[in-house]
């Protein structure tokens, strides 16, 4: 028995040694890449924000991010947040970061930009798990479908028409994918609705305006 105990002890020490070495290597790589990774993530996020709102404001959009209290129109399951574009201290547009909850394979993360006059500045998908080759045409790198929302508002088209063509609405779908565009059209419409209902808060308007 002592020899068994001895070999167990020896093997444990050896395995512990391997673990320690591997962990040390991982930790070192982590420390070495940490700042670059944070930078890259910020660049990627601010790039998407700048695509939606290229000009017309003078603040740092990324730094203006605020959390929004959960709201049924913004997909209650995950936290939404808002970026506010200011010109001379006055809000001129907002970009909402939210999840369309009913994608084909889970929530679709969206950025929806809305101008002060209530029309869409732009919509971008930031992350999703939709089917490659079908649902992933919602990415701007794959197709320009997502640009159909540019300039639209709650009056253009009227709310009953805010659907994909298949459901009797105005928006083109994607070949082979029904659920994905439906989820996004619905999320964009709901976002416009939310912005319309919360103008006072989002655009800092005094109630008397």
């Amino acid at each position: 028995m002592p020899s068994l105990l001895h070999s167990i002890g020896k093997n444990s020490v050896l395995l512990g040694f391997v673990v320690a070495l591997s962990t040390a290597a991982t930790v070192m790589t982590f420390m070495y890449t940490r700042t670059t990774i944070i930078e890259q993530e910020e660049i990627a996020r601010s790039k998407a924000l700048r695509e939606i709102l290229p000009t017309g404001y003078d603040n740092n959009l990324l730094a203006s991010q605020r959390q929004i209290a959960p709201h049924g129109l913004l997909g209650e399951t995950s936290a939404a947040s808002v970026f506010t574009a200011l010109a001379q201290g006055k809000p001129v547009a907002v970009i909402l970061s939210l999840a369309a909850p009913d994608g084909y394979t889970g929530p679709i993360q969206l950025l929806v930009g809305v101008n002060k006059i209530g029309n869409i500045a732009g919509v971008r998908v930031t992350s999703h798990k939709e089917t490659p080759g079908l649902g992933d045409k919602i990415e701007l790198t794959k197709s320009d479908w997502i640009l159909v929302f540019n300039g639209r508002s709650l009056t253009d088209p009227l709310p009953p028409q805010w659907r994909v063509r298949k459901d009797g609405g105005e928006f083109d779908g994607l070949t082979g994918a029904t659920i994905t565009p439906r989820a996004i059209v619905k999320a964009v419409r709901n976002t416009l609705q939310y912005v319309a209902e919360n103008r006072v808060h989002l655009f800092d308007e005094s109630p008397t305006d």
């Binding site: 070999s7 050896l14 391997v18 991982t26 890449t33 670059t36 990774i37 080759g133 082979g176």
Partner: protein, 237 residues
């Protein structure tokens, strides 16, 4: 007791063709089928796999006298897992957009049996330089099949070739993008998982056919030895 000398030529032939991890050993099918829907994805994951495979073979070969056989598998998995984590972190830092596409497939490198397979069957029994070389050629064997599969599926599934290569090589290669087929005649099924199986099957069949032709050719050109023919007359037939 010395093992037979290692032939680098034979190692290379094994990795790239004869004992190809993807076409013959059929190891690492999960990443092979999962990310082969475009050339850029295939190349990205293939390169990441080579890095992990070369490093794991080298490290495991260095530790081969220290690690007893009883704990070799957990030790190898730990080494491979931390190497994969390091590669993932480096990709996040330096090729962030590619990382966003390949994201979920990078951790899967850990479960790529080709890597554990080479660690156990080669690196743990051979010295450092042959192990390094074995990792490199086995990785290259995996890479070329992955990229070929990616090219097949991208061509017939999306109708393009080399789309978005700038994710790996930067903006200079933006004009590599080729449109091979118009979008209305491409076959969606090729991009989806069944297409991966069908294309991989075709590649395996093609390799077997080439091997068969080579064997046939060798047979027909080999000199025929004359001599006695011994006919088996006893025992079971």
């Amino acid at each position: 007791m010395n093992p037979p000398p290692i032939s680098y030529r034979e190692l290379t032939h094994n990795g790239l063709w004869k004992n190809n991890p993807a076409l013959v050993q059929l190891l690492g099918l999960c990443p092979l089928l999962g990310v082969s829907n475009s050339v850029v994805n295939a190349l990205g994951l293939g390169l990441a796999t080579i890095v992990v495979l070369v490093c794991s073979n080298t490290i495991i070969s260095l530790l081969r006298h220290q690690i007893p056989t009883t704990i070799r598998l957990p030790a190898y998995i730990i080494v491979i897992a931390s190497l994969t984590t390091c590669v993932e972190l480096l990709m996040r830092a330096y090729t962030y957009e590619l990382y966003q596409i390949l994201g979920i497939f990078i951790p899967i490198i850990v479960t790529n049996c080709a890597i554990l397979g080479r660690a156990d069957s080669f690196a743990s029994r051979n010295s450092v330089i042959p192990s390094f070389w074995d990792g490199l050629v086995m990785g290259a064997g995996f890479l070329w099949v992955l990229v070929l599969l990616g090219a097949m599926r991208e061509m017939f599934g999306s109708g393009t070739l080399f789309a978005q290569m700038s994710l790996i090589f930067g903006e200079v290669v933006n004009d590599w993008h080729l449109r091979i087929l118009p979008t209305d005649i491409v076959t969606l099924a090729i991009i989806l998982p069944p297409g991966a199986f069908i294309c991989a099957g075709l590649l395996i069949a093609l390799k077997n056919e080439i091997d068969y032709r080579i064997a046939l050719h060798k047979q027909s050109t080999a000199p025929i030895h004359s001599g006695h023919k011994r006919v088996r007359v006893t025992g079971h037939i």
